[in-house]
Structures are given as C-alpha cells and as structure tokens.
Symmetry: D5
Subunit: 162 residues, 10 copies
C-alpha cells in the first residue's frame, strides 16, 4: 500500500459520508483543521489518538491506521509550479513579495529564516463590504543563521540584538 | 537602461548612505515598507509622489524617476524554486500546507481563489520566551470563480452563500 | 476513485452514446458549453442540479455524481508547454502577443490584471469567404493591484481613474 | 546590435518623451496598437512606411530603422511559464479552458487549429457597475488538418462540412 | 479506455498477425502510409470508412472503432527532446538547419510560417552507390502573418508579393 | 571574440549593405544558400575559399575570417523547444509525424537512422492556386545500426536486404 | 503488451533461473554481451535466430519472441541526467572530457562526428596492482559533415584529407 | 555593483597575492575557514570586524566592505544539479543515502528536520594507509515539526520524548 | 516484479509487525543501520546472508530474496530537488556550503573528489541544553584526479603532496 | 577575471597564431593532448611547469598563468543535454548502451563504479576501407561500493572476489 492510495480511500469515504473537513477536524480533535487536513492528504503524520479516531471515522484497517501515524515523504503529490489557480496565487504572492519579505525579515531579525517547521498557519474570513477577504496568519519561529565556530565568546549567530 | 540596472544603482546608494529599508520607507512615505521595498527591487511601480521622493533620496535622473513609476515586467529576477534559504522557507510552507489551505478556502468560501493582486502582506515580530517568532499576515480578497453564462438568474459563481 | 478515472468513464459513455458536447451541454443546461465541457473534463465543479443531470445522462453512481460537484485540483492533466497543436496555438498567441496585451491593458486600466477567475470565454464561427474564422471572446474583470496600506486616503490601488 | 538593445533604446525614448503606446500607434499609423507595440517590443517586423515613422519618432539611425523591418526571431525575451502576474493570467486561462476550447473547436469546425498567424487580437474596456471588465477578441482563421494524399477525390482534410 | 491502451492493442494484433505498416495502409486505403500510421499510433483521427476497415483488420469493438475517429490530444506519448536516436536525428536537423531555413523562408515568401497542419510528408528510398539515402519531402502551405487591422487597403500581411 | 559576436557583426553589415541571403550565397559561391546561411549564423564552418569571400564581403579581419573556418560548438544560440513560431512549426511536424516516420524508415530500410550529418536540405516554392506552398526536401544517408561483434559472417547490422 | 513489461518478465526469469548476462549471451550467441544485454533491456532488436533462442531460454510466447525482434522506441526507460552513480560516471566523463574530445576529433578527422550507430563498445578488466581498472573501447565510424550541394567537384564534406 | 563582481575581485586579489583560504581565514579571524570562504564567495555575510579585516586584506573600498556585511541572496551562482564533479559527489551522497538518513532521523528524534541554518560543518583529513580520507562532520539542531494548535496540553510537536 | 513493488511489500510488513529500522538492522546484522535501510528502500544490494535474514523477517519469496541481492538502478524513486523538507535541508546544506567545501578540500588534498562510493555515513544524537543536535559524520576516500598520461615520472595526479 | 574570459583569450591567440591543439600539447608537454585541451578549455588545472609554458605560448600575464593552475569549477560552460551533434553522439552512446555497460560492469567487477576521476581517455584513428573509424579508449579505476561498517571481518565492499 502506498500513501496516495490511502488518501484516495479517505477521500472516497469523505464523499460517501458527505463529510466536511471542518466536521472531520472536529471528530478527530486535538489539532486545528489545516493540520488535520494536511495529515489526511498525506503530508503530515497523525498522532496515535487522532489516527485512531480517523480510523473509526473512515473505516480503516489497522495497517492503514498505522500508516497515518508514519512520518511521510512529504510533497510527493504536489506539482510545482502549481497548475491549480488557487495554489498558484499562494505561490505568486511569494514570488512577487518574497524578496521584500526577505529584506524586511533580515532588517528586523538579522540573518536567518522564518521556520517552516516550527510554524503555524491559520485561515479566517474577513468580512468586507467590498467583498469578503481571506486572512492568512502564519507564525514561524525565527531561526538565526549560525556562524561557524566563532573562536571567542562574541556574537555567534546572525540574530540581531534587540 | 533596464530595470535591474536601476535596482543595482538604488542598492549602491542605499549602501553608500547606510540606509535601512525602514528609513527609506519612512522617507518615501504613503505606503508600507513591504510595498516600497518591492517597488525599489523592481516588482511594483511607485506612484508619482513616492517616485519623486525616491529620486531625491537616491539622486536619480528624471528618466530613472520615471522608470520607477512604470509598471514592470514582474518576477524577472527571481529564480524559482528559490535557492536562497529564506525565500525557500516561504515556498516550502506553500508546498506543504497549500493543498490543505485550498481545501479550507473552498469549504469556507466556495470555489475561487484568494487574490494575490488585491492583497496586503504585513510582517511583525512576535516576542516569545522560546525564541521570537515571525508573524506574517496576508489579506487577499476572495474571488469566486465565475461559472460561464448561466442562462437563468440562479447562483452564477462558485461563491458560497453565507 | 480519482478524477481522471471519472473523466475516462464519461468519455467512454459519450463515445458509446455518440453524444456531442453541444448535446451534452443542452441536456445538462444552465451554463454554456465551454464551462460544462471544462467541468466534465475535470477542471471545474458542476453545481448540484447540473451534476444530477450529468449523472443521469452518463449513468453515474451517487459517489461519482458527488465527485462532479467537488472543486477539483485544476490543471492536473494538462502538459505545459502543450504538445497538441490545437492547444499550442492558443499558447503561442499569448507568448507572442502577451507582452503587448500587458502594455495595452496597463495603459487603458492602470496597474493590475485581467482576471482568469471572474472570466467568461466564448467561441464562435465567423464566416469568411477566404475561409471561416474562429472568434474567441474573453471577458475578465479588471483587478487593480492593491498598493499596501496607504496611510492617507489617496489612490490606494493601481487602477487608472477614468 | 541585437534586437533587445534596440527595444531598450526605444523604451528609453518613450520614457524621455513621455509617450503612450496609444500616441505611438497613432503617430506611426496604418496598424492597430497591439501590432505596433508587439513590433516595437521586438516580436513583429514593421512595414517600411511604419518603420520610417518610428525612426523619426524615436530618433533612430538608418540601420536601426532597417532592423525594425526585419522579421525577428520571435519570443526570444519571453520567459515561459510567465512569472509576471498579468501575463500569467492569460497563460492560466489557456491552461484551464484550453482543453474545452479544443473540444468545442473540433466539434464546430472539424479537425484543425485556430491559426495564431492569420490572427488578430483586440482589447477593449467593458464598462460594468461591478467593476469594469477587459474584453479580448481574437479572430484566427480555421486551418483544417490536411490528411495526407487521399487517393480519391473524397474529403481530403479534417474540416467539417457545414 | 484511453488512447494509449488502444494503440497497445493495435500493436499487439499487428505483431500477432505479422502485419507491416505498408500492408496495413493498403488494407485500410484512402490515405498514405505515414498518415495511417500516425493515426493508428494515436496522433491523427481516421475518417469513418478507414476506421471501419481498421476495426475489421484489428478486431476492434464498436467503441474502439469510434475512438479511432476521434480527434486526439496529440503528442501525448512523445518525449521531447527525443531519447530515441532515429527521432533525435529529425530533431537535430531542425535544431541545426532551422534558423537558416527560417531565413530562407522569409526571404522567399515574406513573413510567415510553413504550415504543419496543411502539410504532407513523404519518405522515399534514394538508391546511391555510396549507400542508399532516405529522401523526405515535406509540403506545407505558406501562411503569411496577418498584420493587425491595417486601416487602408494596402498590404495587410507579411507575404511577399511575387 | 566569441562566435555570437561575429554573427552579430555579419548581420550588422548585411543590414547596412542591404544584402539578401541569396545575394550573399551567390557572392560567396560553391555551396547552397542554406549551408552558407547556417555557416554565417555560426552553426557550420566555411571552407577557406568561401571564408575569404565572406571576409571581403563583410569587411572582416584576418582573425574573424579564420573563425569562420573553425568548426563551431553548434546549436549554442538555439532555444529548444523553439519559441519562434516559424521554427516551432518545423519542430511540431517532427513531434507529430516523427513516430510514423520512424516506423516507415525501419520498415523500408531496417534498423538505423537517417543521418543528420550526411544530409542535404533544400527549400523551394510550390505554386498553388489555393496559396503557394513551401517544399522542403531532405536527403540523408541511411545508417544501419551496427550489431556488436557478430561472431560469424552473417548479417552484421540492422539494414534490411533489398 | 508494452516493451517494459517484457523486460520485467525477462528479468524475473533471469532471477528465477539464476542466470548471468554472460551465460545468457553465450546461450543466445552470435553477438557480444553488451549488444545482447541492451536488446533484452529493450533498447535493441534481436535478430530472429537470437530471439528464438531467447524465447526458449526465458519461456516466452510467440508474441513476446516477435516483440524482441521489433525495433524499439529506444531510451524510453532511461532517466537523464542519470541518478544512478554507475551511469552518472559515464555521463560525467562525457561532460568533462567531451569538449576536448570534440576538438581532437575535428583536428584529426575534420568536421563530422563519431557515429553512435555504426558503433561497437567493449568492456574489459585491466589488472592493476593499485586496483583493477575498467577498460572501455568504443569504435565508431567517422561521419564527415556533408556540405550542401557544392556546385563544383571540390571537397564536398568536412572530412580532412589524409 | 553586484555581489558576483565583488567575488570576482576578491578572487583576483587572492590570485595576485597568492593567498590560501587557510591564510585568509586566519588573517580575518573569528570564524572557521568554511564559514569565511562561504562569505567571500558570496553566500554568507561577514560580521563587521571580519569585513574590515577582509577589506584591508583585499584592498576593498568602503562600499565593497559594506557589501560584505550584507545578507546576500544566497545560492545565486550555484548550478543544480552540480556539473562540477567535486560538488556532484556531495549531492549524490544525499541523493543515495538521504532517504535512509531521513528514516534514521525520524526514528531517533521524531518528526522534524536537521537544521541547515543552526548548522556547523567541518572538514578534516583522516590519514589511512589505503589512501587518506575526507571526514566531514555536520552538526545541526534538530527542529521538531510543530503540530498546529493542539487544544490541550499534550504533545504539541513531532519530537520524540527521550 | 520491479524493485519499488518489493520496497512497498517490505514497508507493509514493517508496518504490520511494528518494526523499527533499528530492530530490523539488528535482526539482519553485519552492517550499520543506514546501509541496511538504504538497501531495503532499494538503493543498495544486500549481501546474501543479510538477504536471507531479511527474507525470513519479511516473509519474502526466494525470488524476492534474490532481488534484494541484485545491484539496483539506484536513485530511481528520489525526486530532485527534494520536495520533502527533511531531505531538502540536506540538499540545501550542500547548495550553500558546497562551494566552500570544494575549496577547502582542494586546498587540503589537492585536485580530486571525496568519494561517494568508498563512503560511510553515520548519524548520532548530540545532547545539547539548547535543544539536541543531529550529528552526521561522513567519511569518504579522497580520490585525486588523474592527469592523463604524463610522459615522465613526475606528479601524475592532482593529489597534494603532504 | 573569470575563467571563460581566459579561455576566450587563449582561443583568440590560437587563432591568430594558427596553432593546432596537437602543436599546443607538444609545446606545453608532459601530458596528453586531451588533458591539455581540457585544461585550456577551463575544465582541468595545469600543473605549474605546463602553465608556465602555456603562458609563454599564449602571452599570458602572471595572473592569468596562475589562474591556469587553479582547480576550476568544472562543467560551467557545457550545456546538457548537448545541442552540438558531435557531443550529442557521445552522450547518446551512454544513453543507449549505458544500462548494459552497468550490468556488464557489475557482473565482472561487483558493485561499484568505473571512476571518472582516476580516468584516462585516448582517441585514435582506426583505418578502415569502409571509412576510417574513431577509436576511444577509456580506462578508469574500478571503485567498489563500501558497505557501511560491517561488524565482522567479512567482505566489506561490493567488489567481486576474482
């Protein structure tokens, strides 16, 4: 069994039972909807209690339940650059604003990155008379570049002192 | 003169005068720092009053000032997928969480996209005892897919009624 | 079940029953032929009433009918650049005339894009003694670039005042 | 001298003299704005009378004027897939609706293509209370596929009898 | 059923019955061997009478026979650049001599292309004491570029007057 | 000096002196126009007598004349797949008809290739009341695949006995 | 049946019967081991007598035996650039030494290529106290470039007179 | 001035003065040789004291010294996959052993990554009678995946409890 | 049977039996965990005794056991550049530090490479109060470039004398 | 100064002085022609005595002479897959015969590679009445794969015992 077959089975059950991701996330519990959706689509492992609930909800075998807890080879099914317009807009925003976000990040925090691992993303509706807006909030730990083996006790990383 | 040469000149002056992007954005005024940085890096036009201030700040010719107001061929200088680690992390977050963000967006809003055009991005520091975090907030208008030429007055787009 | 398998089934029935897209679009109703064809090829969802008619026409299961209403991962089956000559000509027209269309758009409307989401396309025959012509009409909403957070009430987007 | 250097010079003069493409097209005359813009950007030759007027307008040498009349190696400067959002939307419309446009074309005209050579494109503003729209009209000759060397006098191409 | 499966079936029967393409083309009749071979490999439709003969020859079902008459998504199975040496030589000839062929075409015919649609290709043996030669003859209609909307009656396309 | 700079100089003189490729080929002599054009565009060497005539015609230095006689790194300036429509049609004809040409070649000649080295290409105008046609004739030596080290005297290559 | 499935079957039998390529080449006979291995991996046809022996050895059906004699679409299964280290080293040697081999070839033989068609490759063990070496000997016919249609009897190809 | 020009200047001086990277790293001080080399090649910023020493050593202007302290767009000059054999071997080791290293990492540490930011690399000679060996030691912080917004206090990341 | 199917079967049994790679490596014995994991994932052969133990552990057939001992086409299943974040970090470290590692290697050892074949990799946990670290140690033989056929007895390779 | 500029200068002098690579290799001495050509084209360093002779021959500055002795970033100027037909044939031979060469190598030597580093290549003319042939002899050290950390004294690498 490979991961994409399990994803296909889960989507089949979701369709048969007419489940929304919101209802699924609530039934499984413990984590937010984007995390649980990412896991069921095959790019995150589910912790054991959540996998058990998912197995119940989707009628999975023991082996399938276990596969849900395994750390996957992530990004296997995603085509880059995206050909889907919804995904492409996220990609484009990074393509156009990425360089300025990099400059801003470095000026505020020093040399380093915003982690995509210690990272949380949320999506909300922003009511607006001119048409509602999508609000995405991403919070990622700043990780300063380590400058290799400074021989004295001075500043050893790219982080800006604040 | 091509746009990347003007960018190079601006960065040379920024270096000579020891300017920060924050100071530049304040001197130019009217728009936030990410927008102004994007414009000076060549991926956005500056409105005329801002271009005039930029010309003064960077000692540009009339022709260079005018070029700053022109709508550029965007994304010309950006390599995708990014080889720079700071940019790559933004890209990776979209690669891993993009499919779940797409599902969540569709479930909440219906069929459509989050605009990358009617779009605002902000970056803030989130103090955290375990290490400060980067908080990015993106707000983009939801654009429902238009379903072509419905012949009656019924729902004509992919937007979910709320 | 994955979407491309459903497309294959639909095309099999279309072949067996000797249906044209025009007849299919009329039987399903409510939307124009290009929209319905795009949906049956897997790049658009069908609204529920149309999916019900499609299910009847093609003899689909309840689950397949439901899949037709799901918002798909678009563009999954399309190879770019196209190797099919008919598709390539559409692509080439954009490759050659795209830059001038961009200039014209910006000069007429200001900074922004022609939406590919709030977008309708039609195809007609243009009789011509020198050989009939294909006429394609595309109508897409102009979306002005939002300039981030202007601090005063002045022009906040790339749209040209008309 | 290579073509992209001449384009750069033309854009420099356009900037210095504060010319719009509309004004340029009117000054040069004889052809529509998209054709003339495409030619000045380096993807079409200008007929001699138009090249003479362009030379006068932009202060070109005899050799540069002659280069404007040469049939160029087209598409040399365009990056595909486009990274510029305005160009990308044109590309995406073809990516998403192209397969259905192909089906519709074949059903209406038979086997063949819509020419991208015997082809005219126009762009207009479509006033709309919900926000003005961009209307693009493309007219291309239908070219039926020739079926190789039929030995009798029967239908020798893919064109549908009408 | 997808087209490549039908191609596979046809090749299986060809192998079982020990048929040559020449014999197949003669049995099917009406068109030359390269056209019929291209159609059976999946890149051209067969007209109905030919499809009927092909169905008889290969023992196809009604549905398979109908698929042979459908206009296919061409080029789906061909890898570019070719990794097969025989195909690569055709590709290489275009890579090396293409630019000079373009110059010669433009000098003789004016601005335009040699159609790959209204196009016939033939292959013959050229006996030669130093080793026989392959002679390929391609005949394609010259299609002059249409220059957009000339406002007077003068030369409206790139074709050279002869 | 690199080869593309010499090509640029030659094209500059061609433009200044208003020379056609036909006139150039006649002035240089000894070989046909496509060969001489290919050489001057940088993908073939010119034999010494021809290089001497080219040097006279274009006013080249001794060193530039010598460069014309050097065997070049071919194909350096050509982008594949072509973005120029005229080149693309040649490419597309090979993409669509290549597989059938391969089958036909093998059936007629056996296992091997049509040489792109011992190869001559000609282009002619084919007058046609429905619009003149471009006729390309390519003649290439058939090269049978050598089957490695047959141990007896039997057929040692893929060539078909005729 | 497609060629890669036949390859898989052959490798299955090879594994079951514990055959070496050397033993297989000896059992099939007539050609050297690299040729026979290439054929069984799907990139060369086997002459009929060899195919018959292969069929016996591997227990193939008549149809499978016939497929072995068909000229294949070569290179279909090979990924380039190679990700396998053994293949990569062959590739890298050509990447690094190729340009000098080209210069040496041209200086010794004139303008042309070393055929990869009329070509034999052998591999041997070269005992060496510092570690045995692999010795590969490739012999390919020199094919001089044909210079198109010289009008007199002078040197008509790129071959150097020796 | 762009970064690659500064790198070129530094390498010119290094050549003129016959400096080794080891001597350079000692002269500049404070950090190890791989860090300082990476910085001078343009992929790391130098802290100010080190930049001052580098400026003295290489005879840089104030502006060039400042550029050395700027956080660069990393990876701009590196071609991937590498065509240089020394770099390719590092790449290949990750290609072949990467998947097992991923499995080992997850089994030992849980779900997460080995940081390439909080990361130190060292290279040493390992004397060996069979030929000296290169020893590379990489130390990177383990970063556990954050599982989004667990609602209770339970395990909130992919890290394994130890 | 192809190798990836065997890998899938092994992973299925690993999941069913709830085995860790550590336990598997111990059960199979003789080699370290990264080697055995790489082999079971399909990128290394297992020596016969280890394959026998693996067959017992995973319930493999004789043929599957034999396949485990075959030298595979390595790297077949790995996508480069990696889309999995854990793999990407290994790749990125080489992308950013590779050029300096190359310089350091050459300065210490002379001209050559660090072998990826005579190569051992180990991974360990490095406890650290600021968060545990991953320590990777790679040891590869230095292979000096052979300089071709020096005619005298002088230094014949790129290795530095030490 | 970058390496490709030095190559260009060397080729300019070679052209001016009408030198052959053979004469250059003899004048520089100590190594064979392919090695010296590779070095002068920028993909190998020259040992100091040879660089001194090259400097004299080509009239190089001290700095340029030194650059010739530096270990270069190899493969920087080579496009893969090659577009030059001479280079392509080398590439194609590896593409078609590579998999069988891999099998043969493994069967004869065991698991490992033929080094492209400890590697010598020679090219010779093989007179043949049917047309002279190019003979390439490559000799590379066999490098057995090291199997990681066997715990006992048994066979520790992929080399076959002979």
């Amino acid at each position: 069994m490979i991961r994409s077959e399990l994803t296909e089975k889960i989507l089949d059950v979701k369709r048969e039972k007419d489940l929304s991701w919101k209802a699924i996330a609530e039934a499984i519990g413990g984590y937010n909807q984007i995390f649980i959706t990412t896991a069921l689509l095959g790019d995150m492992p589910l912790p054991c209690p959540q996998a058990a609930k998912a197995a119940e909800l989707f009628g999975l075998t023991k082996s399938e339940e276990k596969m849900l807890t395994e750390i996957p080879m992530r990004g296997r099914e995603t085509i880059m650059p995206p050909q889907d317009p919804t995904l492409y807009r996220f990609y484009e925003a990074m393509l156009i604003f990425g360089p300025a976000m990099k400059e801003t990040l470095h000026e505020e925090f020093g040399d380093g990155i915003m982690s995509a691992i210690d990272y949380v993303v949320k999506m909300e509706r922003e009511p607006d008379p001119a048409g509602d807006r999508v609000k995405i909030t991403m919070s990622g730990k700043f990780l300063p570049y380590k400058y290799h083996e400074p021989k004295d006790g001075a500043q050893a990383s790219g982080a800006r002192q604040v």
